[in-house]
Every structure is written in C-alpha cells, then in structure tokens.
C-alpha cells in the first residue's frame, strides 16, 4: 500500500509549460491590478473630500466652474451621497452631473479616456445592481445599457487618437473583458426569469464590450512595438486572443447542437437553418485558421480572423432569431385558422 502511495505522489512532478504559466501570470496580475484600480477609484469617489471637487476649480473653464458651483450650491452632501445611487433613484441625476463635471474639468486626453472607462465600469456595476435587485422596469436597464455603450465608445474614440496609448488600451481591454464576464453571469441569472427585453439589452452590451475589446486588443498590439512594457502587453494580447478563440469555438459547438436540435424538432430543414449551417462551417474554418495564426505568432492576422468569425456568428444568431420569429408566426396563423374553423362549425 505504501508503495502505491509513493507512486501516487510521483504524479506531483506533472506540471504545465513554464512559459505558459508565466505568461498567464502576467495576464492575471494585470487583471487583478485593473480590478483593484477600479476599486480604489470607486473608494476615492465614495469618500470624496471637498478638495476633490475644489482642486480643479483653479484651472477650470467657466462652464465647468458653473457646473461645480451648481453641484456645491445644490448641497455638497447630496453630491457626496449620490455617488452610490443607482439608476431610477432621485439622487442618480446628481451622480451623472458630478461625473460630467469631472469630465469637463479633465483636460488631458489620456485621463479623459481613463474616466470614460471608469464610468463604463460604473454603468456595468449599476446594471448588475439593477438586475440583482429584481427591478421590473426594463426601460431603466435599457437606458443604463445605452449610457454604458456611450462611455465605451467615447473611451475608444480617445484611444484611437493616441496610437501609443498602451495604458488606456490595456485598461479598456481589462475592463471590457471583465464586463463580458459580468454580462455572462447576469444572463445566466435572468435566464430563469424570462426577461426578454433585458436579455436583448445584455446581448447588445456584450456585443459592444466585445467590439471595444477587439479595438483595445489591436491597439495594445500596436503599442507593443513602442512600449517599455512590451512583454506584459504581448502576453496580454496572446492570452486574450486565446480566450476569444476558445469562447468562439465553444459558441460554434453550442450553436451547432442548437441547430441540430431545431432540425429534429421541426419537420426537415428550412432556408434559415441551411444558411446558418453554412455560416457556422465557415466560422469554424476561420477560427481554426485564427488558432494556427496565433500559434505562428501572427497575432494581428489571428485577431482579424477572430473578428471575422464573430461577425459570421452574429449572422447565424440573426438567422436563428428570424427562424424563431417565422415559426412563431406560423404557429399563430395555424392557431387562428383552427379557431376560425371552430367558429364556423359552431355557426353551422
């Protein structure tokens, strides 16, 4: 028995590839630091001292001054308390106004980009709070998702102006990847609650996060050439690309199974199913190619292929929705015909 135990202990010598382990450590550490950074920003805002509002006053243009004066005039305590307000509450408007003031008072474009990313994370946190609180007002979630998408777009447009924006690119990448995880968890949570509108909103938010994450990834890749932190950046690009490829592979397999089930459930093939199957096969080929490119260290080509495969998956999703819509319509028509027949029989 002891010999067997000793043999079992020898399994401890099995280990992952040291380089992969170190690369992922960089990525993980970056993600942890980014989350901690977001956390400290949140704490700073929640515990905002008056100096935080007053400091920029001395450099502020008159419009921003006016906003700050309005905020101070309307009660600094309220402005302070509003920082943890969620959409739909009385203080939420004040929260957005203080954010607007901070943005106006910030002149540096890199800092502005960081603020947009921070505000996007705040919106995501609010969406999470709204859904976790079981609210029934879908419109509020829709509006917050719109605000979230706006902040991401603004952050990205500033990023595009600065080709060496390594820090902003990795911050946007870390934020959007984290948002995607949050959205996936939220979607699982609401699956049982059949919130059609919120589900659509979350899909939309996910798509935005993914698209901005792609841009951030490509920007980070460009920045590896000039950045002093090239190794970490390159590790982040590789690992995120791998993650995206893996998620697409998973998605393709799930969709394939769903289409197969749909084929079995409904009589024969239909136009949407056939087209969706062709597109899925194309996406599968492209993603295999993206994987090979990544292994060959052709990162840009790999990322571009992932983006292309994702676009095809989006088309598959539209085809599935179209099929569902048509089938519902057919069911309705059949049911209407049936009721008409029954009414006619009653009359006879």
């Amino acid at each position: 028995m002891n010999n067997i135990r000793k043999q079992l202990r020898s399994l401890k010598h099995i280990a992952p590839n040291a380089q992969k382990k170190a690369s992922f450590r960089h990525v993980l550490e970056h993600r942890v630091r980014a989350d901690m950074h977001m956390h400290s920003e949140h704490i700073v805002i929640q515990r905002a001292s008056w100096t935080a509002f007053l400091r920029p006053l001395f450099h502020a243009p008159s419009f921003a001054l006016a906003i700050v004066i309005v905020i101070l005039g309307s009660g600094g305590g309220i402005a302070f308390a509003s920082q943890s307000a969620i959409p739909g509450t009385t203080l939420y408007g004040m929260k957005l106004k203080t954010e607007q003031a901070r943005m106006t008072l910030t002149r540096d474009e890199k800092k502005k980009a960081a603020l947009h990313i921070e505000f996007a994370s705040r919106r995501m946190h609010e969406i999470e709070q709204l859904i976790n609180s079981d609210i029934n007002d879908d419109a509020i979630v829709t509006e917050t998702v719109a605000h979230y998408e706006h902040e991401l777009s603004e952050g990205e447009s500033l990023l595009k102006k600065d080709p060496e924006a390594a820090y902003s690119a990795t911050a946007l990448l870390a934020a959007t990847e984290s948002h995607k995880d949050t959205i996936t968890a939220l979607k699982k949570k609401i699956a049982a609650r059949s919130h059609g509108q919120i589900n659509d909103d979350l899909d939309d938010a996910y798509e935005h996060a993914e698209s901005h994450s792609d841009t951030a990834l490509l920007t980070a890749l460009s920045a590896t050439a000039t950045s002093s932190n090239a190794t970490t950046l390159s590790d982040t690009v590789i690992e995120t690309s791998r993650k995206k490829i893996r998620s697409l592979e998973k998605d393709i397999q799930e969709r394939k199974r769903a289409i197969e089930n749909a084929r079995q459930g409904r009589a024969g093939d239909n136009a949407e199913t056939i087209e969706a199957t062709t597109k899925l096969e194309d996406a599968e080929t492209i993603i295999k190619n993206a994987k090979t490119r990544l292994e060959n260290e052709e990162y840009r080509e790999s990322i571009e292929r992932s983006i292309k495969a994702r676009a095809l998956m989006k088309e598959v999703s539209s085809l599935e929705k179209e099929r569902d819509r048509r089938e519902k319509q057919e069911d309705k028509e059949r049911s209407d015909e049936h009721s008409d027949d029954e009414s006619a029989q009653d009359r006879d």
Binding site: A18, F24, D35
Partner: protein
C-alpha cells in the same frame, strides 16, 4: 464588478494562490480532460473565475484551496456536459508532461513510473481516480476533499481508503 472592502488585500494574496496552486490545478484538469491545451485553458478559467468571485463577494472564502478545487470540478463538469463524452486519460501524454529540472535518466524513470501508474488508475472509476489524486498526489486534507466533493469528512476518508485498496488489488493482478 462589485467593489468590496476586501478587494485590495485580495490582490497580492490571490497572486500567491496562483503561484502555489497553478501546477496542482493543471494536473487536476489534465487527469480529467487528457488534453494539455484544454487542461491549461481550464486552469486559466479556474483562476479567472476564482478571482472574479473573490473580488465580487462580500464574505471571505475560508478554505481557498478547497474552493479552487470546487471551481475546477465544476468547470470540468461543464466541459463534459458540452462535449457529451469523457476523454480517457492518454497515458503517454500525461507521462510526458513532467516538470523541468530532472536529468534525462531521472526523467525517463519518472515517466515510466507515471505511465505505469496511469495505466492502473485508468482501470478505476472516475470518482475513485479523483479522490486518489486529490488525497495522495495533491495531499488535500479530508476536510478539503469533503468541501470539494460535497461529502462528509468520514465519507471522504472511507472512499479514499477503499479506492486505494482497489488500486492496490489492480496493481497486484497486473504484476501477476
């Protein structure tokens, strides 16, 4: 991302957790899925999910090691559910995945030893193999195994003992 007062302190502690347990998590995944890349992908998912949990939940996780194994187990179950079939362990693949730093002779001996052990382990049911790896290869305490598998401490202890006995019997038969 929900922000908690613990987040800041968790950062360094979490990275230390990665340094300490990434090899163990990889082994656990490799024994389950028998594919190096997939095992590493699942290991990464495991740490990402664990960090997400630590950063968003208010309460402290008592036994982080057991928590990691629980997440790892759930990830493998999700993976199996999607694949709808389980992979049998590729003995050669596992035997060749040993850490750097051994000389050629030692590496060959170790590979042979692991290859022969994996051959025996493959003859056991999945749950027996799992408990033996957790208890004797990774040296988890019975409390940690109990937390990971949802059994009681006593049940985990009895299960490990029986599995070891079974493995010993298979080894004896194999020698004959």
């Amino acid at each position: 991302m929900k922000h908690t007062a613990h987040t800041h302190n968790h950062g360094d502690a979490f990275m230390a957790l990665y340094d300490e347990y990434s090899d163990a998590m990889y082994r656990f995944m490799l024994f389950k899925v028998s594919d190096r890349d997939l095992a590493w992908d699942l290991t990464q998912d495991c740490f990402m999910k664990t960090w997400h949990y630590f950063a968003t939940k208010e309460h402290e996780v008592e036994n982080k090691k057991a928590f990691l194994y629980t997440i790892a187990r759930n990830l493998v179950i999700d993976h199996w559910r999607q694949k709808e079939k389980r992979a049998t362990i590729d003995i050669d693949l596992v035997a060749h995945t040993i850490e750097d730093g051994n000389d050629l002779y030692a590496t060959t001996v170790l590979q042979d030893e692991i290859r022969s052990l994996m051959g025996l382990l493959n003859k056991l049911p999945e749950h027996d193999k799992e408990i033996l790896v957790m208890r004797y290869a990774e040296e988890l305490s019975f409390d940690e195994i109990a937390k990971t598998t949802g059994k009681s401490n006593v049940a985990a202890r009895v299960h490990a003992h029986r599995a070891l006995k079974k493995l010993k019997m298979i080894a004896q038969k194999h020698r004959k």
